[in-house]
């Protein structure tokens, strides 16, 4: 459903923004040539048929050719996808795990010096734009200290069509700075949310009752409070994964990381419509997958949802 709508948006962009004929042929083409091309591209068919054809081609990974370079868009994307996925995964894991741990810590040890320190630095984290974090990290670790590389993926190993940077020293080294850059903002968001949810849950009556029943603090925090904050945290973590993809654009630009984001930003810059709309579909697809997992996680955690779902099925 969401995917269809996203596809519609990207179709509209593809079809109506900038005249494809103009883009393909330039100013000098004659009227007859134009008409022939319009016919060949199927632009004279009814709109909904064009939409279905667009969808059909999308399912078959056919997004047409890039305006620049005239390479098939799907090839371009597939060659660059592994870089982005590796970057997104490592930074998401970094951001979410650290975020949850710090969030719980600052909620439990409310008012202590360390948690106040963490909290105030998190505010700086929110205020620092991702690109600035990246630039500052480059300055410190690449220019001044010369510890880590400032651009590219380092050496990569080809595993079939997948190229990974996890297996070489220079690949891993190259991954460190971009992952921190990308993960830091997610971490602060996850942390602040976890903390807020935790504080809210700790005020609930069932936590007070658990106290009154003499359960230990450790049990209360980890067996009573933690499961109850998981739902909002998983929701936001899922959303974050989506935004990691977006912020990857920035990180990839800063670090000249050869991923899909860099491809997209160049597409925006040169108004390369087929690449833009394919990228849009890709992000939509990723989001739908993430959402599916989030929904499954809900069912696993909350018996109330499980029951209402079951009742539907019966």
């Amino acid at each position: 459903m969401v995917l269809l709508l996203v596809a519609l948006v990207s179709f509209i962009i593809f079809r109506f923004v900038g005249n494809p004929v103009e883009n393909l042929m330039g100013q000098e083409a004659t009227m007859a040539q134009r008409a022939a091309l319009e016919e060949a591209l199927g632009l004279n068919d009814p709109i909904f048929i064009q939409y279905f054809e667009f969808l059909w081609r999308a399912i078959n990974f056919d997004f047409g050719n890039s305006y620049r370079g005239a390479l098939p868009v799907s090839e371009l994307i597939i060659s660059r996808l592994p870089a982005t996925i590796e970057l997104a995964l490592s930074s998401a894991i970094l951001g979410v795990s650290l975020g949850v741990i710090l969030g719980i810590y600052t909620a439990i040890k409310r008012g202590s010096i360390i948690s106040n320190l963490i909290l105030s630095s998190s505010l700086i984290g929110v205020s620092l734009p991702t690109f600035l974090i990246g630039v500052l990290l480059i300055w410190l670790f690449s220019v001044e200290l010369n510890w880590l590389p400032s651009f590219g993926r380092g050496e990569v190993v080809e595993l079939g069509w997948w190229s990974t940077g996890f297996l070489t020293v220079s690949g891993v080294k190259s991954l460190i700075l971009p992952s921190i850059t990308l993960g830091l903002y997610q971490m602060t968001l996850v942390m602040r949310l976890t903390r807020a949810e935790m504080l809210e849950v700790l005020k609930q009556d069932y936590i007070r009752l658990a106290y009154a029943l003499g359960l230990t603090k450790r049990k209360i925090y980890f067996f009573h409070a933690l499961p109850n904050i998981l739902i909002p945290v998983i929701t936001i973590a899922g959303l974050q994964l989506g935004s990691v993809i977006a912020f990857a654009i920035i990180t990839e630009t800063v670090f000249q990381w050869p991923g899909v984001g860099l491809l997209f930003i160049n597409a925006v810059y040169f108004v390369d419509i087929p690449v833009m709309s394919a990228y849009l579909l890709l992000v939509g697809f990723a989001f739908v997958i993430i959402n599916l997992f989030v929904d499954l996680a809900y069912l696993l955690i909350d018996p109330r949802l499980r029951d209402s779902q079951l009742r539907r099925e019966v």
Partner: protein, 285 residues
């Protein structure tokens, strides 16, 4: 304490931006006053050719960095403010309609919001920006770039407003003072504007401050990526982009000062927003 400090920093920055014409020692955009010989002057050191001293140094073209930052602030603040206003008006109206009327209107608006949430705001802004550039004839692209930027950031940030307003509206409309107004036969429109709106404004204000910081950051990001304001009218993001190019050759100040300004601005707005949220939260009082 922190709030007072941040408020002070914020007002100072605003005033600096407003009175940039009078405060800036140089007019950075007038080529006739520029001297290429002044290029790459470090801060507070006399230039080796001309002997001129600049508070924060100069960039490659010999522009005084302090002046460029002041003028850059103007653009950043203007774009941020307009974008927030656009997002707020759009979000509040859609949120109110969605929350109060319910039904299919609600479903459509919220689905739209859901889908937009799929794409993080910076991506939406980029898309809108790309699409707008695609639709505009090339000769207008340059002139309209600031307007396009405002619209793209504004359109990318309406969802939090709409969500919050809808949520609060749903809570408020169940309260008995609304039932009481309905008993008097008041029209929906006047219930929305006279009764509900005043009661949901405080969360809107909090979101507005946070969004303001986000919008400024978004503008800086887009400009940094080269898809924002043109380099002839540099905003803070553009300045940082220029600065990054010279980082490796040791001219650190071109990057550092705009970056610090941007950080101070965003941080003071965020701190102020935090304080505002605590102030307006009835639970704390």
């Amino acid at each position: 304490m922190l709030a007072v400090g941040s408020f002070f920093v914020f007002t100072t920055i605003i005033l600096l931006a407003i009175f940039a014409n009078y405060l800036a020692p140089h007019t950075p955009f007038d080529p006739s006053t520029l001297n290429l010989m002044n290029g790459f002057t470090p801060p507070m050191e006399p230039n080796e050719f001309t002997g001129q001293v600049f508070l924060m140094g100069t960039d490659d073209q010999g522009r005084d960095l302090f002046s460029t930052i002041l003028y850059g602030l103007r653009i950043s603040l203007f774009v941020g403010l307009m974008a927030v206003l656009l997002a707020m008006v759009l979000g509040v109206i859609l949120g109110l309609i969605s929350g109060f009327s319910g039904g299919w209107l609600d479903i459509i608006i919220m689905r739209l919001a859901d889908i937009q949430m799929t794409f993080p705001s910076i991506l939406v802004a980029m898309l809108v920006y790309g699409v707008a550039r695609g639709m505009l004839p090339p000769e207008l692209r340059y002139e309209m770039s600031i307007t396009v930027l405002i619209i793209s950031i504004g359109l990318s940030e309406w969802v939090p407003f709409a969500r919050t307003v809808r949520g609060s509206t749903l809570v408020e409309k169940e309260k008995d003072y609304i039932t009481s107004a309905r008993m008097l036969g008041l029209k929906r429109f006047s219930i929305m504007t006279r009764h509900i709106l005043p009661n949901i404004l405080s969360p809107v204000l909090v979101i507005a401050t946070i969004t303001f910081a986000l919008a400024i950051i978004a503008e800086a990001t887009l400009s940094f990526l080269g898809v924002g304001v043109p380099t002839t009218k540099p905003s803070l993001g553009t300045l940082i982009r220029i600065g990054q190019d010279f980082l490796f050759s040791g001219e650190w100040w071109i990057l550092l000062f705009p970056a610090l300004t941007l950080l101070a601005l965003a941080l003071s707005i965020n701190l102020f927003g935090d304080w505002l949220r605590d102030m307006l939260n009835p639970k704390i009082h």
